[in-house]
């Protein structure tokens, strides 16, 4: 997650961004429609098909329990996207709102909020997520809350800094002095300039959330079996890497593509 805030964003849609959007649309389609179209039950086991190769009865092969990898990938993609989207949303809404509030009110409001964000930053994010997960191991709730709690600071800091610059511009100051209602000014003047930055941050936050969820599975504090989570699938299949390398790579490739799409989409300028 980068911290270089408020660099002006050129508004031209670059080719890479387009590619990112296209890839993201494809993946989202797979995540949304896959589970519906693929009839196989992602939890159904068939020991006789353990590690079945791709292309046979199972289109993308089967895992060590003989579960359809295609079905598991589709469900896993849906889960990862869902989690990532929700955490990014839950981080962006309070982050942006508080950021605007701090920029608008300034003074003590800003100081208190700044302090709060510093405390959150000083609390190791891993600690926060692990602690919350310990309240209800293997549940979506705390995982999602923990991610949102660590990710909101980014939105807050960037929004506050950008909005402060915007609000100090002469025409907006004039509008404030003329007594235009705050919401009107925010909608009319601040939101349009802020939107691209927030979108970028949201895409980065989603990418971070996808990696975080799969990473937590890797240290077995994530979601519970048989949930088809991509990180879980990778870890479950990892021991078989020499026998069935493709099987291990499939969930990894899916994660890779999802993060890649988000990164491409989120590119600031050519960064």
């Amino acid at each position: 997650m980068t911290h270089i805030a408020a660099t002006p964003i050129p508004r031209r849609p670059s080719r890479t961004r387009l590619a990112g959007a296209l890839l993201l649309a494809l993946l989202a389609g797979f995540a949304l429609l896959g589970p519906v179209l693929i009839e196989a039950d992602p939890a159904r086991q068939d020991f006789s098909a353990s590690l079945a190769p791709a292309g046979g009865e199972y289109l993308l092969g089967a895992d060590h329990y003989g579960r359809s990898l295609l079905a598991r990938l589709a469900h896993g993609a849906r889960l990862s996207f869902g989690m990532a989207f929700l955490s990014a949303l839950a981080a962006a809404v309070p982050g942006v709102a508080l950021g605007l509030l701090a920029a608008w009110r300034g003074g003590w409001t800003r100081r208190v909020l700044d302090f709060l964000s510093m405390i959150v930053l000083a609390l190791p994010g891993l600690l926060l997520v692990l602690l919350l997960l310990a309240f209800a191991p293997g549940n979506f709730g705390p995982l999602f809350l923990g991610l949102a709690l660590t990710l909101w600071v980014e939105f807050y800091r960037v929004t506050r800094a950008s909005a402060a610059v915007l609000l100090s511009q002469p025409h907006i100051e004039a509008a404030r002095l003329l007594g235009f209602p705050p919401l009107y000014i925010l909608r009319k003047h601040v939101a349009p300039s802020l939107a691209p930055t927030v979108t970028t941050l949201a895409a980065f936050a989603m990418a971070a959330a996808i990696i975080a969820v799969s990473t937590l599975s890797a240290i077995s504090v994530g979601l519970q079996p048989p949930t088809p989570e991509l990180g879980n699938m990778m870890i479950e299949l990892l021991p078989y890497y020499s026998e069935a390398p493709l099987h291990v790579l499939l969930p990894a490739i899916l994660i890779f593509l999802m993060v890649l799409a988000l990164q491409l989409l989120a590119r600031r300028d050519t960064a």
């Binding site: 939890a43 329990y65 479950e236 990892l238 021991p239 078989y240 026998e243």
Partner: protein
């Protein structure tokens, strides 16, 4: 080859092979972390690595053998045991191992957490070169309890004023040179072991929690000896001409622990139905990857006297499972899940990831029980949740890995598992008077002839009543490089015999 050129060659080999440490060091890798040095906590690492010793030890065959005690005897009343110490044992700080020190060390072990709690000990004293243990009631298995790692004998300077262990000064062939908990320990030859000089003077132990890591360390040649390699990796390493693999069946069974007092499992037919629903062969083929590990009864064939070869085996028969469940009053509901008096057959199985194979087996069980109309949720958590839920009676099911050689005589485990009120890792909600009587008799009986029918009876009761349902047995895989020879496998995991290992010529 003279010493200097040998050193040079070894150094060169070390660089080429990427061993990192000096090539003269025996690099041992295992999954066990060193969490605290109290013997009750990590004594097994010090015992296996031959830093500290117990009074009694075991042969690889499982027979008890002299450790620090050369011999032992019991009085006719069965209450007073005498352990005669070998005269030539010395601690790493130079203090001789005397009966007085050993008795005090055992007293401390008894005060702490450990297996001695289960023995009816009246007092531990010394009499000349003998440690004398007086009991309140006859307990034939006492010597087996003195094999346990919590009873390692430490030098007086290992303890601080409050009696807490601050360093490990044992009497084994290796002394600790550097201890960096939780993952690393370096050992050097102690130079004064009663058993002679070890074949290799320096040993380094690294704890690597992930199986993939251990396997790769074996493959890359930087580890000479790797313990507990998972079956998947074993299959791959077998094809590597530079590695030797030895496999031992260990007295550990993975069992489904059930609450026989819950409405789901109070009927013996329900427990038998669960047993029939489990495809042990399928699970054994896929997870431990060895069909011979399908647990057709509680104890594996490697436990003579306890494994009963002619006992009717536990078998997979989904049809029979359905019949038994119907007989117990369960009928299929509209959602495909069985119901009885408006209650859905939906249970939660707790398990833990200390043993990496448990969550996968739980996942397999989940799918298999679903086939007979049982909804089983899996919760992978901390191992302590199972005893906690056992104690407060809210446990439904748990998948556990139970070691029957915590003391080399399985009677130790049976006493805690199937005594009155059951046990953390044994029965829940199942009190069987007949079983308790048999166990009590076994604990007091030393004569193998007299024990045999009792052992048989105990196993029969467990097979019939199924307070716990065996799923698979376990193996221990040890991978060693060609650089070393004379690697022994100890199925009881008391002592890995490092001192006997030599460099290959």
């Amino acid at each position: 080859m003279n010493a200097a050129s040998r050193l040079a060659a070894a150094l060169l080999a070390g660089c080429v092979a990427g061993t990192g440490a000096l090539a003269q060091t025996l690099n041992v890798v295992g999954p066990w972390e060193i969490a605290g040095i109290d013997p009750a906590q990590t004594g097994y690492v010090f015992s296996r690595m031959q830093v500290a010793e117990t009074l009694v030890t075991t042969e690889p065959s499982g027979q008890l053998a002299p450790g620090l005690a050369e011999s032992w005897s019991v009085d006719a009343d069965g209450l007073t045991w005498r352990f005669a110490l070998r005269g030539n044992a010395v601690f790493h700080d130079g203090t001789p191992v005397t009966a007085e020190i050993a008795a005090r060390s055992l007293e401390r072990a008894r005060d702490g957490v450990g297996v001695l709690e289960q023995v009816p000990i009246a007092e531990i004293t010394h009499d000349g070169p003998e440690v004398v243990i007086r009991l309140n009631s006859s307990f034939a298995a006492l010597p087996a309890y003195l094999v346990h790692f919590s009873t390692i004998i430490l030098a007086p300077s290992s303890y601080d004023d409050a009696g807490r262990v601050t360093q490990i000064l044992g009497s084994g062939p290796y002394r600790i040179d550097r201890l960096t908990p939780p993952l690393k320990m370096e050992l050097v030859e102690s130079g004064q072991w009663w058993g002679g000089s070890p074949g290799i003077a320096e040993v380094s132990y690294t704890a690597a929690g992930r199986d993939e890591t251990r396997a790769i360390m074996a493959e890359s040649g930087e580890a000479d000896l790797v313990f507990s390699v998972l079956p998947v990796s074993v299959d791959r390493l077998r094809r590597n001409p530079d590695l030797d693999i030895q496999i031992a069946t260990i007295p550990r069974s993975r069992i489904v622990k059930l609450n026989a007092a819950s409405p789901f499992f109070d009927d013996i037919a329900e427990r038998q139905a669960i047993s029939h629903a489990i495809d042990r062969l399928g699970i054994s083929n896929v997870i431990p990857r060895n069909p011979d590990l399908a647990a057709t009864q509680l104890f594996p064939p490697a436990m003579p006297g306890w494994h009963q070869a002619d006992l009717p085996p536990l078998e997979h028969d989904a049809g029979r499972a359905a019949e038994l469940l119907a007989q117990a009053g369960w009928t299929p509901g509209s959602d495909g899940i069985l119901q009885q008096d408006g209650r859905r057959f939906s249970v939660t199985l707790l398990t833990y990831s200390n043993w990496p194979e448990l969550p996968p087996i739980a996942t397999a069980l989940q799918a298999q029980l679903r086939e007979v109309g049982i909804e089983m949720n899996v919760a992978v958590g901390n191992s302590s949740e199972i005893p906690a839920r056992h104690q407060d009676g809210t446990l439904e099911m748990a998948l556990i890995s139970r070691l029957y050689s915590i003391v080399p005589d399985p009677i130790g485990a049976l006493l805690t598992d199937y005594g009155p009120g059951g046990g953390d890792w044994g029965a829940t909600g199942w009190d069987n008077d007949q079983m308790q009587a048999v166990i009590a008799d076994l604990a007091a009986t030393a004569d193998p002839e007299a024990r045999a029918p009792l052992q048989r009876r105990a196993v029969e009761i467990l097979q019939e009543e199924l307070p716990g349902i065996p799923v698979t047995w376990s193996e221990l895989a040890i991978v060693s490089g060609k650089r070393i020879t004379n690697v022994q496998v100890d199925p009881l995991e008391v002592n890995y015999g490092l001192a006997a290992i030599r460099w290959a010529e």
